[in-house]
Amino acid sequence: MSHLILENIGMTFKTQKGAFRALENVNLKIGKGEFVSLIGHSGCGKSTVLNIVAGLARASEGIVLLENREVNSPGPDRAVVFQNHSLLPWLTVYENVRLAVDKAFSNGKSRTERDEWTRHNLELVQMQHAMEKKPSEISGGMKQRVGIARALSMEPKILLMDEPFGALDALTRGHLQDSVMEIHAALGNTVIMITHDVDEAVLLSDRIVMMTNGPAATVGKILDVEQERPRDRLALSEHPDYVALRSAVLEFLYSRRMRPAA
């Protein structure tokens, strides 16, 4: 049974130049605990798909089902890690996560439990040392860690990540990818991650969903990544399956770019 189902999702935006058809017939089924990457060229509607699942945008057609219930508004069961971290700059690292914890567990946990849970999640992303710092006082990678802690702290049914490491340098990105893999292994979250980084997609995902170019973008091809976990980026980079997957994704992206109307 699928955990999350996207059925015939279509999206039309009204613009000044008239209607713009962004998505057409997007169908996708994601199992519990699965790590799925959405990859495609800029402007292909990846973010729109994520926003629809998050409930931040309403699909023009089709339906999103999470555990057999329709999704039509945002909520903490679908936590989002935003591309530019979106931490509130007037709150400390601790307070940013605590705000989410307080909202998600306003009835379920006592004050002390919420405090412990906030600290626990910051430890999970190795940010306990900077709890009292403001976002402006920590690095980009650290901010993104806090963003992930905030999302995880809501115990979401599904974790949505919108190009979470896109703005980071390669080394920091590598560290965060490792952290995400560890957390995914430990907690078994269901994750949808948008990326435009082929290596990142292959390293992290169980499946890679490749989207065609817009307008009227849709799911072009889905690749299964059957590498065993835990994965090691160094060992993997030499592995023939990895190399084959990597070139398959590149092939898809490259051939699509040559024929954007496809």
Binding site: L56, P74, R78, F82, L88, W90, K103, K134, P135
Partner: protein, 285 residues
């Protein structure tokens, strides 16, 4: 001596040279910085003093000389807070009365202007409703409102406060509204994912996110209000630096006027400095 040893040797020598050069270099930079901060302004003031003296000697001898003005300043500032009844008070009192009016009008404008700005920023309907009125009234000199104030309040003190209220309210409304509209969409998305209620969004997202803009509006307001109060008091009379200055003109006591101008300027930069401190305190970046 092989090549490596030679390179180390050269490296050490370079290092020693740098160390030797450093003590000389740092003071020179300091001297340049000091001269920029102190000597350059001194040159400007020197030129002003020359022009002033020239005007005094060759254009109009009613403009007092610098020594005469200095003597006047010493007398005025010797007893800034003397009080010989309402018509004869020290310059400290005059400045404090003016500041009091500015603060009263400024506070009233904040109480009205910030909520109005918030509503305009949040609701396009309210924005549409208020925008034309504000656009018409904003360019009007606040002093034009003085007769209306005198008519309504039948007293000079509330009228002056009313003028300051009118002065201060437009920048507060406009900046608050702009601040609310400039709240990043991401913060609102965060609020949506967390399912914050409308009140929580205002309290926990919009208000803190808008605060720096609100303070910018307050800083601008305060600066203009301090300029306007001098003019308003010239017209209303009573106690206050504006009327004091005008009164000295009626007495043809020009040195006092120049002292007043300098004091008004000093109070103005103090207000500006205080608001800058507040602004820096609330700057999140």
């Amino acid at each position: 001596m092989d090549a490596n040893a030679l390179m180390i040797d050269v490296g050490e020598k370079l290092e020693q040279q740098e160390k030797a050069a450093e003590p000389a270099r740092v003071p020179r930079e300091k001297i340049i910085a000091l001269s920029r901060a102190v000597i350059m302004p001194l040159i400007t003031f020197g030129i002003v003093a020359l022009v002033w003296t020239y005007v005094h000697e060759h254009v109009s001898n009613q403009i007092p000389s610098i020594p005469d003005t200095w003597d006047a300043a010493k007398t005025i500032l010797a007893h800034p807070f003397y009080n010989n009844g309402p018509n004869d008070m020290g310059i400290g009192w005059q400045l404090l009365y003016s500041l009091g009016r500015v603060m009263a009008g400024f506070a009233l404008a904040a109480i009205v202007g910030i909520p109005v700005g918030f509503m305009m920023g949040m609701s396009p309907a309210i924005q549409n409703a208020w925008q034309p009125l504000i656009q018409i009234l904003r360019p009007v000199s606040p002093l034009a409102w003085l007769p209306i104030g005198l008519l309504l309040f039948k007293a000079v003190n509330p009228s002056a406060i009313f003028v300051i209220f009118i002065t201060s309210i437009w920048p507060m409304i406009v900046n608050t509204a702009a601040g609310v509209k400039a709240v990043p969409k991401d913060y609102l998305n965060v609020a949506a994912v967390l399912k914050l209620s409308r009140l929580e969004i205002i309290r926990k997202i919009l208000f803190p996110a808008t605060l720096p803009h609100v303070i910018t509006g307050m800083r601008l307001s305060l600066g203009i209000a301090w300029m306007v109060i001098v003019a308003a008091e010239m017209l209303t009379g009573g106690i206050g630096i504006g009327f004091w200055l005008w009164d000295e003109w009626n007495n043809l006591n020009i040195p006092h006027i120049i002292v007043a101008i300098i004091l008004i300027g000093l109070v103005g930069i103090t207000l500006e400095a205080v608001m800058n401190l507040v602004q820096r305190w609330f700057d999140y970046e």
